[in-house]
C-alpha cells in the first residue's frame, strides 16, 4: 500500500499543446480516487502515466514517496484493469491470473494457492481452466480484476472497467468493486470513468477534469474533493453542469441587489430570484448564471417570491417522479423534477419555486460564489 502524488504533471504528445496540463494531487494510502471527466479530457492518459505506459512530459510522480517517473511499469508495483479486459487469449483463466506471479518467479504452489484464493473470492473457481473466449463479458471482467488482485500491488488502476458491460451487470460489478475495496484490498485505487454515477458511488475523492480549451487556460483539474462536496459546492459552471443527473439548470440573470448573506438577481424574462451566497466582488448589474438542480425545484404559485414561470415543452412520467422540460435560455431545456402525482401538461405555463438555500450563483467567468446555506 502506498500513497500516490502527482506534482505539476503535464503530458504533451506533440510538444505544442498539453493533453494533460498541470495536475497536482495527493492520493492517500488506501484511498479510492476517481478520475472523471468528459471524453477527451485526458483521464485515461493520466492513468496510463501513473501506470508507466506513457512517459511524463514534465512534473513528478511519486508512489509511496519514491519518484517513479523513470521506472518501467514492472518496477512501479501497480496493477491495472483495462477497459477491454486485455486477457491473454492463449492462456487459461488460471494462467492469466498467475501470469504476473510467474514472471516474478513465485513458486508454482504459491501461485496456485493465491490464484485459488482470489478466484474463490470472485466466485470464478469453476472457470479457472477455461480460455477467455469461453467467458461472458462479466466473467472476463472478474478475471481481469482477479489478475490485478492476485499480485497484491501497492496501487490499483482501473481504466473504465465497466463500460463494456450491460447496465444491470455494471451496477452489480460496481457494488462489488466498492465492496472489494472496503473489505479486502485497502490498497490505493485510481479509477477512471466517464460515468458520474460510478464516480459518485465509488469515490473517496473525485478528480474532475476539464476538456478542450479549458485544459490550456485553467489546467486539467476542474475540482478535487469528496463526491458530496463536488455536488454541493461545485467551484465552476463546468463542475456544476457535469455532476448530477439530470444536469443542473442555469438561468441567465442580472444582479439586482447585494447583501452579505445573499444576492438577488433578475432573470432575462423578469423573474426575481435569490441565492444564499457570499457576494464577494459582485456588483449590482453584473451578469451571472443562476443555478438550481432539477431535484431542488418545487412547484410554486405564480407571483410569489423566488418563483419563475416557464412554458412546459415536454413531460416525462417515470412513475416515481415526473420530469418537466421547460423552455430554457439556450437550446438546452430547463428540467424540473416534480412529484409523481403532478398533473403538469405540455404547453402550460408552469410556476416553479427555486429555494434560495439550494441555489448556486456563477459569475461571468463561470466561477462559483461561495454558498452560505449548505
Amino acid at each position: 500500500m502506498a500513497s500516490v502524488s502527482l506534482i505539476n504533471v503535464c503530458k504533451s504528445f506533440d510538444n505544442v499543446s498539453n493533453t494533460v496540463n498541470n495536475v497536482s494531487l495527493e492520493i492517500a494510502d488506501g484511498e479510492f480516487c476517481v478520475f472523471v471527466g468528459p471524453s477527451g479530457c485526458g483521464k485515461s492518459t493520466l492513468l496510463r502515466m501513473i501506470a508507466g505506459l506513457e512517459t511524463i512530459t514534465t512534473g513528478e510522480l511519486r508512489i509511496g514517496g519514491k519518484r517513479v517517473n523513470d521506472l518501467a511499469p514492472s518496477e512501479r508495483d501497480v496493477a491495472m484493469v483495462f477497459q477491454n479486459y486485455a486477457l491473454y487469449p492463449h492462456l487459461s483463466v488460471a494462467k492469466n491470473m498467475g501470469f504476473g506471479l510467474r514472471l516474478a518467479g513465485v513458486a508454482k504452489e504459491e501461485i496456485s494457492k493465491r490464484v485459488n484464493g482470489i478466484a474463490g473470492m470472485l466466485q470464478i473457481e469453476r472457470l479457472l481452466e477455461r480460455k477467455p473466449k469461453a467467458l461472458s463479458g462479466g466473467q472476463r471482467q472478474r478475471v481481469a480484476i482477479g489478475r490485478a488482485l492476485v499480485r497484491e500491488p501497492e496501487v490499483f488502476l482501473f481504466d473504465e472497467p465497466l463500460s463494456n458491460l450491460d447496465a444491470a451487470l455494471r451496477t452489480q460489478t460496481r457494488v462489488e468493486i466498492a465492496k472489494l475495496h472496503r473489505e479486502y484490498a485497502r490498497a490505493s485505487t485510481i479509477y477512471v470513468t466517464h460515468d458520474q454515477v460510478e464516480a459518485m458511488t465509488l469515490a473517496d475523492k473525485i478528480v474532475l477534469l476539464h476538456s478542450g480549451a479549458e485544459v490550456e487556460t485553467f489546467g486539467s483539474v476542474a475540482q478535487i474533493g469528496a463526491p458530496i462536496e463536488l455536488y454541493e459546492r461545485p467551484n465552476s459552471l463546468f463542475v456544476a453542469g457535469f455532476l448530477g443527473s439530470p444536469k443542473m439548470n442555469f438561468l441567465a440573470a442580472t444582479v439586482t441587489a447585494i447583501a452579505p448573506d445573499h444576492v438577488d438577481v433578475r432573470t432575462t424574462d423578469g423573474h426575481a430570484l435569490t441565492a444564499l451566497v457570499a457576494p464577494d466582488a459582485l456588483k449590482v448589474g453584473d451578469r451571472v448564471q443562476f443555478g438550481i438542480r432539477p431535484e431542488h425545484i418545487e412547484a410554486g404559485t405564480a407571483g410569489a417570491a423566488h418563483v419563475f414561470t416557464r412554458e412546459v415543452q415536454w413531460v416525462e412520467r417515470l412513475g416515481e417522479s415526473t420530469y418537466a422540460y421547460l423552455r430554457g435560455d439556450t437550446h438546452a431545456p430547463l428540467i424540473a423534477r416534480l412529484s409523481a402525482s403532478s398533473q403538469v401538461q405540455t404547453g402550460e405555463q408552469l410556476a416553479l419555486y427555486a429555494p434560495p438555500a439550494k441555489a448556486h450563483l456563477f459569475d461571468s467567468n463561470g466561477r462559483a460564489l461561495e454558498r452560505l446555506a449548505v
Binding site: L53, A86, Y88, H90, P132, K133
Partner: protein, 296 residues
C-alpha cells in the same frame, strides 16, 4: 444449412456442385497421370490413365534400389534421388528457420516501434520483393563465388550459401507477420508490461503465442519456397551429390533420353515431405486464436 433456400436456388447449388466436381477432376488429373506414369514399365509420357501393365521399376530406382529388367540385366539407379530430397529438405529447413527468426523480429520492429523512415523502409521492402530473384542471378553467383574465396563453406556449391540466398526473400514474410502483429491489440502487451514483463517477455509470452498461426504459415511458405526453387539453385549448385531435387530432376530429361517414368516416381516421392509438413502444421494453420481476448 441455417438459411432457408428458394427452390430455384437449389438447382443453382446443384449446378455449382457439378461445376466444382469437374474442376476438382481437372486439378486431380495431372496428379493421377503422374502416378500412372510412375507405375508402368518404360519411359513414356503418353498412354492411358489406367496402365495396361504394372511395374515398380521406376519406384525402385527412385528409392535407390537396382532391379533386373526382362533381359536379366541389372539396371542401376541413374541418380541419387533420396540424397537430393534430403539436400532439398536441409536447405529449406535452414532457410525457413532463419527467415522466420529474421522476419519475426523485423516485423515486431515495424509493427510496434516508432522510428524514422519506417514507412519508406516498409515500402522499399515491398518494392524489392517484386523483382524476381532471377534478375539477380549473376550478382548472386558473383557474390558467392567471391565469398567462397575467403569462406569456403559459404561459396559456390554449398548448401549454406543456397540457404542464405533463399533467406533473402524475407520481405514478404515481414509484411505478412507485421500485418498479423498489427491485428493483435497492443493492450495485451501493455497488460503484460504492467504485470511485470520486460518488453522481451511481453513479446515472447504474449505476442508470439498469439501469432503462432501466421508463424506456421510463414514457415511453411518459406519451406515450400526452398523446396521448389529452381533458378538460384541451378546457378549455385553443380556437384551431382549436392543438387537439390528441383534441379536434380531436370537430369532425367535429356534431349536424347527422356526418363519420364523415373521422373514421375521422383516427383511423387518429392511431394511426400511437403505433404507431411502440411499434415503436421495444419492444426496451427487455423487462425482465430485472438478471439475473445478483448470485447467480443
Amino acid at each position: 444449412m441455417p438459411v432457408v433456400l428458394k427452390k430455384s436456388s437449389r438447382w443453382r447449388v446443384l449446378a455449382a456442385h457439378i461445376g466444382l466436381i469437374i474442376f476438382i477432376g481437372l486439378t486431380l488429373f495431372p496428379f493421377l497421370m503422374i502416378i500412372s506414369i510412375s507405375l508402368r514399365p518404360g519411359n513414356f509420357a503418353g498412354g492411358s490413365l489406367i496402365p495396361h501393365s504394372f511395374s515398380l521399376e521406376h519406384w525402385k530406382l527412385a528409392l535407390g534400389m537396382s532391379y533386373a529388367d526382362t533381359d536379366g540385366n541389372m539396371v542401376h539407379p541413374p541418380f541419387p534421388v533420396l540424397l537430393w530430397i534430403w539436400n532439398s529438405i536441409k536447405v529449406s529447413l535452414i532457410s525457413a528457420t532463419v527467415s522466420l527468426v529474421l522476419s519475426i523480429t523485423s516485423a515486431y520492429a515495424f509493427a510496434r516501434m516508432r522510428f524514422r523512415g519506417k514507412g519508406t523502409l516498409l515500402n522499399g521492402l515491398l518494392l524489392l520483393q517484386m523483382f524476381p530473384s532471377v534478375l539477380a542471378l549473376v550478382a548472386i553467383y558473383a557474390l558467392f563465388d567471391r565469398i567462397g574465396d575467403y569462406v569456403p563453406w559459404l561459396g559456390v556449391d554449398s548448401h549454406w550459401s543456397l540457404a542464405l540466398a533463399y533467406t533473402g526473400g524475407v520481405a514478404q514474410h515481414i509484411w505478412l507477420i507485421k500485418g498479423y502483429f498489427d491485428s493483435v491489440p497492443y493492450e495485451l502487451e501493455e497488460a503484460a508490461r504492467v504485470d511485470g514483463a520486460t518488453p522481451f517477455q511481453a513479446f515472447v509470452y504474449v505476442l508470439l503465442p498469439m501469432a503462432l498461426p501466421i508463424l506456421v504459415v510463414v514457415f511453411v511458405l518459406a519451406f515450400l519456397g526452398g523446396m521448389i526453387e529452381y533458378p538460384v539453385a541451378s546457378v549455385l549448385l553443380h556437384d551431382e551429390q549436392k543438387l537439390t531435387l528441383a534441379i536434380g530432376s531436370r537430369l532425367f530429361l535429356f534431349n536424347q533420353r527422356y526418363l519420364w517414368g523415373d521422373f514421375a516416381a521422383t516427383a511423387i516421392l518429392a511431394g511426400i515431405p511437403l505433404t507431411l509438413i502440411f499434415m503436421i502444421t495444419q492444426r496451427w494453420l487455423v487462425s482465430g486464436l485472438t478471439a475473445g481476448s478483448v470485447k467480443g
